[in-house]
């Protein structure tokens, strides 16, 4: 059975609530069968609206949503067969765990024996056997979360939607739940559409990430590509940490370009600049800049250390470099760099390939 690369398809979808502002603009998004895709973006970027349209609680103002080739815009939520995990779990507080899980099966008129089997299977998937007769109120946050996941999966939906399901959990629990959800996804191969504003969550769990901003998908790619090769300033800024220089393209040849800053010129990788004289923002990941590099690099400048913050596994060094007082360096902890002191002058170097000249901020 070959996987359908357009299992879920948003086709030119627009959404507006008040007829004045478009919350989602011309959304074009294909989700493959069995994929774990994350919609990532700041609040108000339209990601939850997309999820709600897919679930059927909102209707697109324009365009169509297709599920396995069928237009579903006019199908009510209860006939779509899409499982959903809600932000606050939305477990039915007056039903036991068993009844919560049996609810989607009972409304489908499945026989009692079959229901027992499926509920049992779903509970063992989230390792909550023996909790059948508990009420949701008697469970901890993480357990409630797992019940919610089990409930969304128990009726074997084709697609499962998760709307910031881990937002209410504490950090450690959130991380272990991330792995747990990822493993469940891998073992049953269901298509998951996941919404979050937490980038590390998105990077950990997804096959592909769609970064939303201002109602539009800014970039849709794998976590590694998203981090290594952001296509515009917003993505570079939003995913991970980022050092920026604002300047003007002074020379361009192929992939390489020279960017003129107020007091220097740096060599950069030309991503979204085309011609001389264009304004640009150069983005550089903190870990790509080295202190006192041993071999020669494309860009070599010296700056003054403003601040040194010890982080355990690494040290963050803030340097005033080329007029940017917020230039951050991440130095892995080893015996060699314990010498770093505030107001010390150091040399910093990076390769032109890692400095991406993007659209101006």
């Amino acid at each position: 059975m070959s996987k359908n690369p357009e299992f879920v398809k948003f086709d030119k979808v627009d959404k507006s609530y008040d007829g004045k502002v478009l919350v989602v603009k011309d959304l074009q998004l294909d989700i493959a069968e069995g994929e774990f895709i994350t919609m990532l973006g700041p609040s108000g970027s339209g990601k939850t609206t997309c999820l709600m349209m897919l679930a059927g609680f909102e209707t697109p103002t324009n365009g169509e949503i297709l599920l396995d080739g069928n237009i579903i815009s006019n199908i009510p939520p209860h006939k779509r067969g899409i499982g959903m995990v809600f932000q606050n779990y939305a477990l039915f507080p007056h039903m036991t765990v068993y009844e919560n899980l049996a609810f989607p099966l009972r409304v489908r008129k499945i026989e009692k024996d079959e229901i027992d089997k499926k509920v049992d299977k779903a509970l063992s998937m989230v390792s909550l056997n023996g909790f059948e007769s508990r009420m949701p109120g008697q469970l901890s946050g993480g357990q409630q979360q797992r019940v919610a996941v089990a409930r969304a999966l128990v009726f074997d939906p084709a697609v499962v939607l998760m709307d910031e399901p881990l937002g209410a959990l504490d950090k450690n629990l959130r991380e272990s739940m991330q792995y747990e959800i990822k493993h469940i996804h891998e073992s049953i191969g269901v298509t998951v559409v996941y919404v979050t504003h937490d980038q590390s969550e998105a990077l950990t769990m997804s096959n592909r990430i769609a970064v939303f901003n201002d109602g539009k998908v800014q970039q849709l790619s794998s976590p590694a590509e998203l981090y290594e090769k952001p296509v515009n300033s917003f993505v570079a800024e939003f995913i991970g940490e980022n050092n920026t220089f604002n300047g003007e393209v002074s020379d361009i040849s192929g992939d390489e370009c020279k960017v003129k800053l107020s007091n220097a010129e740096i060599l950069s990788n030309a991503i979204s600049v085309k011609s001389k004289g264009e304004k640009t923002t150069v983005s550089l990941r903190p870990e790509r800049a080295l202190i006192e590099p041993a071999e020669k690099m494309d860009n070599m400048f010296s700056g003054k250390i403003e601040e040194v913050i010890y982080h355990g596994d690494h040290t963050r060094v803030r340097v005033n470099l080329l007029g940017n007082p917020e230039f951050i360096l991440k130095v892995p902890n080893s015996t060699s760099n314990l010498e770093l002191k505030v107001s010390q002058e150091i040399k910093i170097g990076w390769n032109s390939y890692d400095a991406r000249a993007l659209d101006p901020k």
Binding site: K79, M84, H94
Partner: protein, 420 residues
């Protein structure tokens, strides 16, 4: 047991419990002093009047105090034949005292309630005594018996004896259309005179239906209030509360204007051709008027508890129900409705209990077929001045409410009530 319970000591060597009690004592006293005014107020305005009502409803000391010697003498009388000489002597001397104090009229009235015909024969006896026609050296029994043949009737003496105990259940029995028969058994009053039982049933019936109507109308309103966006829900809330803030009398009066035969509602019916002009339906001074006005007036008491419960139900629960495959109806019935039960319980209990004791509205728009037991209580308080009977019925009403509360507690559990 492996571990012994050891007394834990503080660092100063005082047992922990003692030390804790000492530390909390001050707070406890403070807390008590804070509630003390309320407790006092409750006692004066609630416990004491109810106690007073109860004693008044069973109190029958008046005759006991008026005829002390009579009842003393009657203790030895078996009540089957005419009482012996001593009883007549006692009665005569008691009665003479009453005449001197000019309270003999009350005795006549009271005895007349026990048995018809007492009023005239006591008056006759009074006149004889006043004219000094009774010779105290002769047999008093013979002289009294000569005054009127009823004095020779054993039933009248039995009636006096029945009034001897200082406490009586008669008022409660009367409230249920029953009375203590001559032989001391409980009997039903004649069928055509059983008005109270009809009133009790009607009160329950009207309270029940008003509760049902309030529920049917209040539930959607409360749901809308809880789900609408703030700016609309505030407006709707004001619409719900505005009547609540209007005087009860004003609202009832406006219903009278609306519902009367030449009123707005009837005019409207005639206009749209629902009824003919010469056969306008009677919508006031009957049950219809009571139903309509009471439902409208009690509606906020249903809406507000429901609203406060619905407000706490996350809209994502309904969404979850739907996304899991439940039709909107199933999602409502299996998920939303069960969660509103605490509010339904609170609202229904509130409306029912208020409706059971409702007074002004039925009095004004109820007419003869729409009045309730409370109107009867008011009637006895103001018109017949039979306060003990009014007290008895008031207490019966109160115990009815307590019974309903108890049943509710058994069925739903009072802990499930949510008023906000």
């Amino acid at each position: 047991m492996s571990s012994e319970t050891k007394q834990i000591l503080t660092t100063d060597g005082i047992p922990l419990e003692v030390s804790l009690k000492k530390a909390e004592k001050k707070n406890k006293i403070k807390a008590f002093l804070l509630v003390a005014p309320l407790l006092l107020f409750l006692f004066i305005t609630y416990v004491f009047p109810i106690g007073e009502m109860f004693t008044r409803s069973v109190d029958d000391k008046m005759i006991t105090n008026m005829l002390p010697k009579t009842f003393k003498a009657m203790e030895k009388w078996d009540g089957k034949e005419l009482p012996p000489e001593e009883v007549f002597d006692g009665f005569y001397s008691d009665y003479k005292v009453l005449i001197e104090n000019q309270t003999q009229g009350k005795l006549g009235q009271r005895l007349n309630k026990e048995k018809n015909g007492f009023n005239s024969i006591t008056k006759k006896l009074m006149r004889q005594i006043k004219r000094n026609k009774i010779d105290e050296s002769q047999s008093i029994k013979q002289q009294i018996m000569k005054i009127h043949k009823r004095w020779r009737d054993v039933e009248y003496w039995q009636a006096i004896k029945r009034t001897a105990p200082p406490y009586t259940m008669a008022k409660y029995l009367k409230g249920m259309d029953m009375y203590l028969a001559a032989d001391g058994s409980i009997a039903q009053v004649d069928e055509d005179r059983r008005i109270h039982r009809i009133l009790w049933l009607r009160t329950l019936e009207i309270a029940l239906f008003v509760t049902i109507f309030c529920f049917l109308m209040g539930y959607p309103i409360a749901h809308l209030l809880a789900t609408l966006p703030m700016k609309y829900s505030n407006l709707l809330m004001i619409c719900v509360l505005l009547p609540f803030w209007t005087s009860l009398l004003v609202r009832t009066a406006s219903w009278m204007i609306l519902l009367q035969q030449q009123g707005v509602v009837n005019d409207f019916f005639v206009m749209i051709g629902l009824v003919a002009d010469d056969s306008r339906p009677e919508m006031m001074y009957n049950k219809v008027g009571t139903y309509v006005a009471m439902t409208q007036i009690l509606l906020p008491f249903m809406v507000l508890p429901l609203y406060s419960v619905m407000k706490t139900i996350s809209p994502s629960l309904m969404r979850a129900g739907k996304s899991l495959g439940g039709t909107p109806f199933i999602a409502f019935w299996k998920v939303y409705f069960p969660l509103t039960i605490p509010g339904i319980g609170a609202g229904c209990l509130l409306v029912f209990i208020l409706a059971i004791g409702y007074y002004i509205t039925p009095a004004l728009v109820g007419g003869a077929s729409g009045t309730l037991i409370s109107n009867q209580i008011a009637y006895h308080m103001k018109t017949t001045l039979d306060w003990s009977f009014a007290s008895a019925m008031g207490l019966m009403l109160l115990s009815g409410v307590l019974v309903i509360y108890w049943i509710y507690n058994k069925l739903v559990g009072v802990d499930n009530i949510k008023l906000g």
